[in-house]
Symmetry: C2
Subunit: 223 residues, 2 copies
């Protein structure tokens, strides 16, 4: 599948590498694709990422990545996501599935960051409202990057990932990709307003991370 | 142990009955203890609760319950909790552990209710600030009442409950009570500010409840 990833940090690079490993044709979109040697937050420079993918990974502008993908990921910082998708001209790419992995975090007051999601501030809903042509599926925002693409590396994969979105077929497409990563328990929470749940959960994740000292963690929904 | 429960709804009645079963001396505090035949939200009238406890359960005012307990529970509606604790004169009971089980829910916009917790609105923190004499431990707010006192009824008890609070001994006392209910995995999240995590998680719980159709659910933290 042709996949465009908006973003170039640790989530984008991790998802991109895994999708390439699975045989997909991936373009990773970044603000300035000429800057291949700049460190990307907690992730390394994009030149290293390209090398790591056996030179199969491509780096382009946000707009080129959005045009390339039949399916898109938002893997930008949640506070910059709507602007990045505007720069990507995501309103002009027609009907495409966008898997939104973003969280809005406030790092100004030190660690742990504050999760800014609330009943009246949900990134997934804001993206869906700003880009009605996209079929937004909120997913993967409840897990650290290493676990996203290797759920079996933690407790044999016996834990849960979530999808929220208004379009059933888009959620099925997202779930299929998730299963190809190794996810066994993909729980459909409902329409895009249900993304408030996993986004507000980020406040819990950050405390779990602090309490356990590891980002290699997740929750299993027991029912 | 002498235990005072502030509140008389389903959480209060469920905790009270279990604590009595375990041999504790429980007083349940309610706004008007004379109204024993009034239905209490989703719970039955207090006269039925008293009968159910083999007449061991006592019903009194908020203030009498707070004075009675060596350990207290807040089991009121989160939006009414600070006021209820003021009515209970909880500032005048000296140093006591208060296990706060409350959630602030907005039911005005229909179902599912909105979880009103955020980075800047945490009930546990507000109670601790309003009553510095109490050693507040946030716990049990992430689970429906039937699971609170019978964790083993769900997946053999293989799931997680949380404690947050500033006082280590108070958290240990809370954990001991939780273990007597059957909890195996009691995770200490940190000081009372870490209650933001489980309180914001309530938004997720409400969506899980909606998606699975059952309140007999919880999360297991896999790490």
């Amino acid at each position: 599948m042709k996949i465009g990833i908006i973003g170039s940090g640790v989530v984008a690079q991790t998802l991109g590498a895994k999708l390439i490993e699975l045989g997909h044709d991936v373009v990773l979109g970044t603000r300035d694709p000429a800057k291949l040697d700049e460190k990307k937050g907690m992730a390394g420079p994009l030149r290293e990422w390209i090398a790591k993918t056996g030179k199969k990974g491509k780096v382009a502008t946000f707009q080129e990545a959005a045009a390339h993908g039949d399916l898109l990921f938002n893997a930008t910082n949640g506070q910059a996501s709507v602007e990045a998708l505007k720069l990507a001209a995501a309103d002009k790419v027609g009907t495409k599935v966008l898997i939104d992995t973003g969280n809005e975090l406030d790092v100004r007051k030190g660690m742990p960051p504050g999760a800014l999601a609330s009943q009246s501030n949900c990134l997934g809903e804001r993206i869906q409202a700003a880009f009605p042509n996209l079929k937004v599926v909120k997913s993967l925002n409840t897990i650290g990057a290493p676990v996203m693409v290797a759920p079996q590396a933690l407790a044999g994969g016996e834990h849960t990932v979530f999808v929220s979105g208004n379009d059933t077929a888009a959620k099925a497409a997202a779930a299929e990709l998730l299963k190809s990563f190794g996810w066994k328990d993909v729980l459909d929470l409902g329409d895009i307003s249900s993304a408030r749940g996993p986004e507000m959960y980020m406040a819990m994740w950050l405390r779990l991370w602090g309490a356990t000292g590891t980002g290699m963690l997740n929750i299993k929904v027991v029912r």
